[in-house]
Subunit: 389 residues, 2 copies
DNA sequence: GAAATTCGTATTGGACCTTTACGAACCCGT
DNA sequence: ACGGGTTCGTAAAGGTCCAATACGAATTTC
């Protein structure tokens, strides 16, 4: 029982430090060398750790190096996106060993699950394992996962998934345990673990694309809110006029999302006189070329985004906001500077740094891997304990 | 070292369960009866725990009951408010044993410290101890405590306190360690511990008075943000028109505070035609009497508050918001219902419950006690360990 | 007043960790 | 090539602390 604690500590340090010798582990954990030896023996017997070479020291006997056996566990990460279903398979070290991007087909539960299951089969076969060998699966979806009922709310693009128990059907993909998280939340964890948010205590990932969303990481941990709806910035009361007077469809979608998403930018351009505007990318390109109407449309977007981030800053006082999503990434050069300037005028507080996401379309998957690897390490250790005790 | 962990656990359970027997502690902590006995013996020798009577059981030998000795530690809580300096002295059980409210005198550091020191002397003398016997002092102040420099920012009512090292002077009040926290943050902790927020995981206390502010409790812990500015809703971009076009004084004070604080309500009433309006209370009273202009002014306030809480809801997804501050409490009957209605229209998400603070002017002090007691319990245990080891 | 029940503690045994010590392995200089 | 110095790994011993068991003590109920 105390032994288990120590094994956990040793296992964690091995991941943190990479190939590492016994004396180093003793130093890092504060445990004695013999204790490290027995923990290592147990972990080795369980197949979680292996010898990996010798340290070439300056003098004295060479130390044996140990590392975690990456194949001791597998994480299947699935990003159920708008246009693509994206999967990766990662080992316990968090290394992605294979990936597939497949265009989204039918999105009703049965078809989608068939598609994902087939892709998972291909992915696992590539490394010579089966779906059953997956330690943990993590699914990133739009909308809010209601853990009570197992329904997926606020995800109009996934018909049929808002019924009670719908997400329980993910168990068909693999017999292992699985987690379901909001896609933007996972992207935030991805940025926090492998991206620009490394080492930042409190941080948010703001996604502007066909929709809007925000993932919040507080004290290095994902913050979901009391019902999983934290960071639903679509509903920020920021936009044109009074939402009560607007059409109810816009109110349901959310004020901020209506004006600030890709649609909103196009609508702004049209309202400002460019009737033929069709996409946000087109508006950004025209603005870069100096087109006055497009530049005004971008100004409108800057204003909305700055107001939203001002609200976020006033509430959360973050150190860093990473901007992602289609609009956020493509328009970053036109948005970030002006938004930052505007922000400084809006709040007298020191505003957060704003940077563009570096993970791109992989953000959700990478976040799912980050979430999954942490949980999977615990799972394999638990299995070990259960087997030996 | 393992023993210390167990003593901590036992000590914590004693506080949680009140007078409690050894078998009950064994059950609660999962430790064996002999282990409980030795832990209790150590805690008793250190003066932290005492016997308090016998359990009247239905059959069998009566169990000795133990309780924490409340006098094992003292917490001095100081609320440096706008009009009053409010102190309480509480014991380790969190019981307030004496209190003083004193009108604020000169607010420069030297005078204020003299005043607080004198009051602390009187307060401690009442229970027969001295200032030096205080285990921990907690100071609640307006503004933001910069832990790096020791300055107090954003507190225009405390001249001279924004210099580096200013808050270090609190050490003059008592030789014990001390904490400095934002007053609204402490009120939030107070509500979370002794008020309406008991048992609520994520929750906020929104204060509307001469100023505006919010304290955020996430996972039962105060959330300060990366620079201590979390919850500074004064700077929410919610108000009349574009703040860039407003006067810079209002921008510095914050958009939301300018329109939503007591001043803002009076200004709204004046703008709507009641030139002689002088106080928010007057406006609320007139609105209750059916005065049309006053009712419109209250409607304006409702609208602003609802927008602010909509932003907070979209970001944090709270279960409960407790409304406090002079305006919040006095106007609660006129505000809460309409704000809740308005909120439901503004965000499609399930809005938080909104309730009035029950702690009143004591909220800050009570919060300071809550914060202090938790820390003081650790302090007395640390002292015990240091003495015995 | 005796049986039943519960409490408290003494004793025993065991798990586990650290300290100490020593042999093994490796580097370097001569 | 060989020996001193150094570092590594493990064996043995010692100590701490906890749980289990058992038994005496105290209290209630019949």
């Amino acid at each position: 029982m105390l032994r288990v604690m120590n094994e956990r500590a040793v296992f964690g340090e091995i991941f943190r430090l990479g190939p590492v010798s016994r004396p180093e582990l003793a130093q890092a954990t504060g445990l004695s060398k013999p204790t490290i030896s027995v923990a290592l023996a147990n972990l080795g017997r369980a197949g979680l750790v292996r010898e990996v070479g010798l340290r070439a020291g300056p003098a004295g006997r060479s130390a044996l190096l140990y590392e975690a056996r990456p194949e001791a566990g597998w994480v299947l990460a699935v990003d159920i996106g708008r246009a693509f279903v994206r999967l990766v398979l990662a080992n316990l070290a968090g290394t992605v060993v294979s990936r597939i991007d497949d265009p989204s087909g039918s999105r009703n539960p049965a078809d989608l699950l068939d598609q994902v299951t087939g892709l998972a089969d291909r992915l696992t076969a590539e490394v010579g394992i089966g779906r059953a060998d997956v330690t943990l699966a993590v699914f990133g979806t739009p909308g809010i996962h209601d853990k009570e009922t197992g329904a997926l709310h606020l995800a109009p693009n996934l018909p049929g998934w808002d019924l009670p128990g719908a997400v329980d059907r993910f168990s068909a993909v693999s017999p292992s345990p699985f987690l379901v998280e909001n896609d933007v939340d996972l992207a935030a964890v991805g940025e926090a673990t492998y991206g620009l948010g490394r080492g930042v205590a409190h941080f948010a990932y703001v996604s502007i694309g066909t929709g809007t969303g925000m993932g919040i990481v507080i004290d290095g941990k994902l913050y979901r809110g009391s019902r999983g709806c934290a960071g639903e910035i679509s509903y920020l009361p920021i936009g044109e006029g009074d939402p009560l007077q607007d059409d109810p469809a816009a109110a349901r979608r959310g004020m901020f999302e209506t004006v600030a998403s890709a649609d909103g930018i196009v609508a702004a351009a049209q309202r400002l006189g460019w009737a033929g505007a069709t996409s946000a990318k087109e508006v950004f390109d025209a603005a870069r070329a100096g087109e006055p109407v497009a530049r005004r449309a971008v100004e409108v977007e800057v204003n909305h985004l700055a107001h939203a981030l001002a609200a976020v800053t006033a509430v959360l006082d973050l150190e860093l906001i990473v901007l992602g999503g289609g609009v956020g990434v493509q328009g970053a050069d036109l948005l970030i500077g002006p938004v930052q300037d505007r922000l400084r005028h809006l709040v007298a507080l020191q505003p957060p740094r704003i940077e563009v996401s570096t993970l791109g379309a992989d953000a959700v998957r990478i976040g799912a891997v980050a979430v999954g690897v942490t949980a999977a390490r615990d799972l394999v250790l638990d299995r070990t304990v259960a087997a030996s005790g």
